[in-house]
Subunit: 303 residues, 2 copies
């Protein structure tokens, strides 16, 4: 791993990091106080910043957007993992695209029924940084059920879908960054089609939607339509994350089987599994799909 640069990024001024985006959320900013810049560099794929914050633990930032803080990361990792895994009756083979920080992997291996997890991460720097600075997230990266592929997720999926010898997946989790950087392709119809081809007939996928109902709800509505052009059974749910702009993040979840009720867990966490979870429980699963009236209307707008 390269040595961190001494100069910090432009997003840090007077000891505060600020997340702003004229394109995605103009006119608002979210700031965290910086105790120390731990790493700052441009990898082959993106600008990477890791800093120690005064009150939220270590923070990973990709292309200026907060990916996680140690204090609240479980809200994201648990919901993007456990909602699709408990919506599935018996997930054994799981694919995680992105998520090199290891947070999703940590949650997936809590399911005793899961037999194997493949992690496809394009940027090895993210994995190395997580091992060094986010030990509670990266702790399961070398779990016996996990295989890491340092690959482009899009290409990986294409190979899986076109190879009749390759076992398909029960659950695919796309834990990508936002669509402006290397993750841009993960928000297109072709990507949902590739996931469809890589899933078993009773398979389920989830992807972070990069938006929420308060920011660009029209984008969300288009994303739901995009997903529905491949998966009739597409739903929107969300998790609350205070260090994401607006305090929440949307998730798009799809099932190949049009009759599966994604809002209802198909399995109940064992008491052992539930004890390992701080955010998720069967009630939160259901409630994460319930939207304010205005948002429900717009997200599922069919015009």
């Amino acid at each position: 791993m390269s040595v961190p640069q001494a100069n910090g990024p432009k997003s840090i001024k007077n000891g505060w990091f600020t997340e702003i985006s004229d394109k995605h959320f103009p006119g608002q900013g979210l700031s965290l106080k910086v105790d120390e810049v731990l790493y700052y560099a441009h990898s082959e794929f993106q600008e990477i910043l890791v800093f120690k914050s005064s009150n939220w633990g270590n923070v990973l930032v990709l292309d200026g957007i907060i990916q996680c803080t140690e204090r609240d990361e479980f809200a994201y990792q648990e919901m993007i993992s456990h909602v699709p895994l408990f919506a599935h009756h018996n997930p054994k083979r799981v694919l995680v695209i992105g998520g090199g920080d290891g947070g999703v992997i940590r949650e997936v291996v809590k399911h005793s029924c899961v037999e194997s997890v493949s992690l496809v991460e394009i940027d090895s720097t993210v994995i190395e940084l997580a091992k060094q600075y986010l030990p509670n997230m990266s702790c399961a990266l070398y779990h016996e059920k996990v295989t890491i592929h340092l690959r482009d997720g899009y290409q990986y999926l294409r190979e899986v879908g076109s190879n009749p010898q390759q076992d398909k997946y029960d659950v695919i989790i796309t834990d990508s960054s936002d669509p402006d950087g290397p993750a841009e392709a993960f928000f297109q119809r072709e990507y949902f089609q590739l996931m469809n081809d890589a899933l078993k007939d009773d398979g389920i996928l989830i992807a972070q939607a990069s938006e929420n109902v308060w920011l660009d709800i029209n984008y969300l509505s288009r994303l739901v339509k995009t997903a529905r052009s491949v998966f009739e059974n597409t739903r929107y749910c969300y998790t609350t994350v205070p260090t994401y702009t607006s305090g929440q993040l949307g998730l798009i979840i799809c099932a190949k089987d049009s009759k599966v009720n994604l809002t209802k867990p198909q399995r109940t966490p064992s008491s052992e599994e539930q004890q390992l979870m701080r955010y998720y429980n069967p009630q939160i699963h259901y409630t994460s799909f319930i939207l304010p009236t205005w948002a429900d209307t717009l997200v599922y707008d069919t015009n």
Copy 2:
């Protein structure tokens, strides 16, 4: 109304307003871009700022804390009003303490069963500013069912409770600012006792909790205990508001009748009433009480 001062407050720098609080949420900040300062002055009670933001409409700030923006205020006003009003089987007399901006009043008068609403606001400047700069919130302040009392809410409640001739209330809504300014007394046991004395036997109250589960959850837990020392039937619920730090705000709701299930609406909105509501619906009522596992444990911690 006094003429706005030409100099803006310290909370605006380089065209951005930033909300920070070393005491309540150290190490984080929320910023909105300022197009124009519309009003800035110290009233008898507090520092008042109104500005036109670039993307969130006009914004009211008291003592440095955002009270509302025109774009997302309905999320707060609807939930603090409709959750207690629909949890009550037949609310006729409603008392609103604080809330001089008129937003809560606007929601309360949407209930056809409500016959009278008393608004007790200590600071007349807030009412005048709302009429000028927040017309969609202040629009119901002169509704025929509304009586405005320019009084201290604490004193008003004391008089109601000690006067046997005075009709008691079905629902009391405390729409205060945070506990550091003139609203400090609204977070003490004595205040809950005064509300108890001013409520009918089947009465319900709600108060903004000034915190949420992501910020000072121990404070919330103490507030729930304080309320429970008067009302055995006390629950915590929340609403999502992107321009509040962390993106959500907690609400404390109490019923004098220990058998009432506050999480379940006792009435269904008529189709006319539902059409007037953008955020609230009966499902959101229930889900606003469902917390992530860790938060549920701490908020209701009895130790």
